[in-house]
């Protein structure tokens, strides 16, 4: 059984950006960004992913990672 890990916190640390600042830039609430960061989100919209990539100056592959639990 695998899962998708969201590495937003890693990219935020690299860009030295706080959660509230990023939330404001991509126009979502800090609570929703926190859900995304902690991996509780069920899905992510393309528009959110696009905004994250734009503000964090990265590619989707830098934010999302597939983890296979069986490995």
């Amino acid at each position: 059984m695998g899962r998708i890990m969201v590495n937003v916190d890693v990219m935020m640390a690299k860009r030295k950006m706080s959660l509230s600042e990023l939330a404001e830039r991509i126009d979502i609430t800090p609570a929703n960004l926190s859900i995304l960061k902690t991996g509780k989100a069920r899905a992510i919209r393309f528009s959110t992913l696009e905004a994250l990539c734009r503000e964090l100056r990265c590619q989707p592959k830098d934010l999302l990672e597939y983890i296979n639990d069986e490995d």
Binding site: I28, N32, L33, I35, L36, K40, A41, R42, A43, I44, R45, T48
Partner: protein, 230 residues
């Protein structure tokens, strides 16, 4: 969006009002029935007769006669139009059981009937209370913008289960009541049908309520999915 929410709240208030009016009418009819029955002169004579019988038990049953001779047509005089013939058909009895010795009337069926009657009356009261509660809960949920809440699902499920328990309790109480009367009618010329009957319409209503609860569960899952889509 706000306009849509206001419309929903208005519809809910209309539903709330209708339910309240139904409860009041039912209560009014019940009370007026009690008061009118007490005032009726012919019933006063009937009551006096019962008192003279040293009445200790009375069962108002809708027992169906098994023997066809007990289901007969009684002609009713029709002064307005003689061409139209009216007939009344007997399909139930009010059986009065009277004895000087109270012990002869004691039976486990009486206790069982009482227990199930208590259960169904309790369930009925709870259903009415919960319907009031759930309509208010819906009103609050619509204002908050989330109807498919876990607590709403719990209330609906509870109403459905109570409705089913109530239906079964009514039928079981009726069955035991019939059995109680039947034990006195054994060996008499009266043959009655004391079989167990289930009110399928009420059972279906209970199942429909549970079905609505299931729909709400699906709605809740969809809403959760939506909330967790960032």
């Amino acid at each position: 969006m706000e306009n849509c929410k206001n419309k929903k709240i208005k519809r809910l208030w209309a539903l709330y009002g209708t339910f309240f009016v139904i409860v009041m009418i039912t209560l009014g009819l019940f009370l007026s029935d009690v008061l009118i029955t007490n005032d009726r002169a012919d019933l006063a004579e009937f009551r006096a007769q019962q008192e003279s019988l040293n009445l200790t038990a009375m069962r108002s049953t809708d027992l169906k006669s098994a023997a066809s001779e007990y289901i007969f047509d009684i002609p009713i005089e029709n002064p307005n139009d003689s061409a139209v013939m009216l007939l009344a058909r007997v399909n139930g009895y009010d059986i009065v059981i009277s004895t000087a010795d109270d012990q002869k009337l004691e039976s486990p069926y009486q206790t069982l009937t009482f227990i199930f009657q208590c259960i169904w009356v309790s369930c009925l009261v709870l259903v009415f209370v919960f319907v009031f509660v759930i309509l208010y809960s819906f009103y609050k949920s619509i204002k908050q913008g989330t109807v498919f809440q876990k607590k709403n699902i719990r209330w609906i499920t509870l109403i459905g289960v109570l409705f089913l328990v109530m239906t079964l309790s009514i039928d079981i109480a009726k069955y035991f009541e019939h059995q109680y009367v039947l034990q006195f009618l054994q060996g008499t010329s009266v043959e009655v049908d004391g079989r167990f009957y289930i009110n399928f319409v009420r059972i279906l209503s209970g199942l429909l309520i549970l079905f609505v609860a299931e729909l709400f569960k699906i709605g809740s899952d969809i809403q959760e999915e939506q909330d967790l889509t960032i």
